[in-house]
């Protein structure tokens, strides 16, 4: 590392460390977001509105219906003879879960089953749907156990679940990788864009460009200190997720950190590009929000599953770096897989880094042709 670059990086570090308020916000953000998202997404579900579909009522269906009616979390809003009535109730948002008994439920149960019930769950909010499904299954299992104890023999009720409106149910644990992506994007892209366009606005960039510092040194000097900050953020988010919500971490931490580094570089390059293509700090901030933060949150699969998006948006999501990072981070954290399964996504991020960094350095040419 040359002395000029070192001097420049020291200056960048000083900027970051001197602005205590911004630094505090940046350092605490992952913690606050993990806590907020965590509680918002894992909030307990109360008052689940239940529709009972019972085409041939018998003692067993009545007994199970009574258990649901007695369960504090459920409220029976309708009893219907067929599934046809359920669809409109779901669409109007008047019901959350429907339970349908197959005909001759008691008879099948008597002949040691399995007697089947269908659970249809409104999964437009996937996290709530998981919880509601689990509650319903718990009621059924309790009844099953009760019967078995009475008869001295196991009786089987087989619940089958259908998630309506969102068949690819996302697990609650999925939010932590997404959150890390969001924080990295924010620190890397947004902060770099702001800090670089500030130099542009104040005229200090001109002085740097006239100096012997080369454009790549200016970019590297800008980017490295923020990388350090991004790293601290990843660790905070992971630690908070683990301590507060016991989100599992199954894979290799060093691989995740390396991939996070790669993703940060993509975001940093984007931030540099945004700064060099905009004319003011304010504009840079807005553009950075628009081209990095919003797609990372909305088009990456973090909040809305990609599979349920229209084909056009799915196609667009391919150029959103967060999409690939999310696959990698989820793979490592939740499935515990390694590079042998994630090399394709890693290559995509690597290629994006290369292209964007080159574009960023080029866009920084001191001399306007």
């Amino acid at each position: 590392m040359t002395a000029a670059l070192r001097a420049f990086m020291i200056k960048e570090l000083r900027h970051i460390l001197r602005d205590r308020q911004t630094l505090t916000i940046l350092l605490l953000m992952p913690l606050v977001q993990v806590v907020l998202f965590g509680f918002a997404l894992r909030s307990d579900v109360r008052d689940v509105r239940l529709v009972v579909v019972d085409s041939s009522p018998d003692y067993a269906t009545y007994a199970l219906r009574a258990r649901f009616a007695a369960a504090s979390r459920f409220r029976v809003v309708a009893v219907e003879p067929s599934m046809r009535a359920v669809e409109p109730l779901f669409r109007q948002g008047k019901a959350d879960v429907a339970i349908a008994f197959e005909p001759d439920f008691a008879a099948r149960l008597q002949s040691y089953g399995p007697a089947r019930v269908l659970l249809a769950v409104d999964a437009s909010d996937p996290n709530t749907a998981t919880t509601m499904q689990a509650y319903a299954r718990a009621v059924i299992t309790a009844y099953e156990a009760e019967l078995a104890a009475q008869r001295g023999q196991p009786l089987r009720i087989a619940p089958e679940t259908r998630m309506r409106f969102n068949p690819t149910l996302e697990s609650v644990n999925l939010f932590v990788p997404g959150l890390i992506a969001l924080v990295l994007t924010l620190v890397s892209a947004l902060m770099t864009a702001i800090s670089l366009s500030r130099e542009k606005e104040r005229g200090t960039l001109e002085i740097l460009l006239v100096s012997p510092l080369r454009p790549w040194q200016i970019i590297v000097g800008k980017v490295l200190p923020y990388l350090g900050l991004a790293f601290a953020n990843v660790l905070t988010a992971l630690l908070a997720a683990w301590l507060i919500f016991s989100v599992p971490f199954r894979g290799s931490l060093s691989l995740l950190l390396a991939e996070s580094l790669l993703y940060s570089m993509v975001s940093l390059a984007l931030g540099v590009l945004v700064a060099s293509l905009t004319t003011s700090q304010r504009l840079a901030m807005l553009v950075a929000l628009l081209v990095t933060m919003l797609p990372s949150a909305l088009l990456s699969g973090m909040i809305f599953p990609l599979a349920s998006m229209p084909a056009f948006l799915q196609w667009v999501s391919n150029i959103v770096p967060a999409r690939w990072y999310l696959i990698i981070a989820r793979g490592i954290m939740l499935k515990g897989v390694g590079l042998e399964y994630l090399w394709k996504e890693t290559l995509v991020l690597g290629a994006m880094t290369l292209v964007l960094m080159t574009a960023a350095v080029r866009s920084f040419k001191p001399r306007v042709a």
């Binding site: 002395a3 000029a4 070192r6 001097a7 420049f8 020291i10 200056k11 000083r14 900027h15 001197r18 602005d19 104040r202 005229g203 200090t204 001109e206 002085i207 740097l208 460009l209 006239v210 100096s211 012997p212 510092l213 001191p366 001399r367 306007v368 042709a369």
Partner: protein, 239 residues
């Protein structure tokens, strides 16, 4: 005669159909204080940006400190200092931190930086405060001293005294003279015509062309005006 510090031949810059700098030519001798005058929009800043390698000329050529501004920008960068019309030190850093930054960028060693910064603090009468807390006049003087930190052959000052009170301006010009006496060539643009009188030679630019060039004394007698101010109004008045 030694090689000029700045040599400009038919330097031209067009932006689309608009000619910002129209075939200007002049020489500046080493150690000279050269006043580059012109109304707003006359093309002064465009010309400076070409001389410091921030903008490519459309045609013509220029050499600064003996190096070609198009082909030898890397060499030029070590030879020039630049102070733009916008204040250009970092306000959230202290005086010494700013000096350390530019010293490091220009490849000065730690000892040299320490030596020159304490000399600078002393001569400017500054403590090591955050630059943002200094009054404007002191900031400008500091920016000028920082632009000279690496002892460049040529220093470009783009309206260095904008918004500064007359006493500070006078002190600023004392710094300029001191630099010129030390052998540094000073290329300065200004809107204050009393400052123009302090220059060794001046040129006046109107609509991208240099309409007159010479010592203040020569120009006043040639155009038969009492002051440079009067000359400027006579030449630069928009048609």
């Amino acid at each position: 005669m030694t090689e000029p510090a700045i040599a400009v031949r038919d330097l031209t810059r067009r932006f689309g159909g608009f000619t910002a700098v129209d075939s200007i030519s002049f020489d500046v001798a080493p150690g000279e204080v050269f006043g580059f005058l012109g109304a707003n929009g006359a093309g002064k800043t465009t010309a400076i940006r070409m001389l410091i390698g921030l903008l490519a000329p459309t045609s013509g050529e220029a050499r600064v400190a003996g190096f070609d501004v198009v082909k030898q920008t890397e060499q030029i960068r070590h030879q020039i200092g630049y102070m733009s019309q916008r204040f250009s030190l970092y306000e959230d850093l202290t005086v010494l931190e700013n000096i350390a930054l530019y010293g490091g960028i220009y490849g000065l060693g730690a000892e040299q930086i320490a030596e020159r910064s304490s000399a600078m603090l002393q001569s400017l009468g500054l403590a090591d405060d955050l630059v943002g807390r200094l009054p404007l006049g002191r900031k400008q003087k500091l920016a000028f001293s920082v632009a000279l930190l690496h002892e460049p052959a040529v220093v470009f000052l783009d309206e260095p005294t904008g918004g500064v009170d007359p006493i500070t301006r006078r002190q600023f010009w004392e710094l300029i003279y001191a630099a010129a006496e030390g052998g540094t060539t000073v290329f300065v643009t200004t809107h204050y015509m009393d400052e123009a009188e302090y220059c060794d030679r001046i040129s006046i630019m109107v609509d991208g062309r240099i309409v007159t060039l010479g010592t203040p004394q020569e120009l006043k007698s040639k155009w038969d005006v009492p002051t440079i101010d009067a000359l400027f109004v006579k030449l630069a008045r928009p048609a």
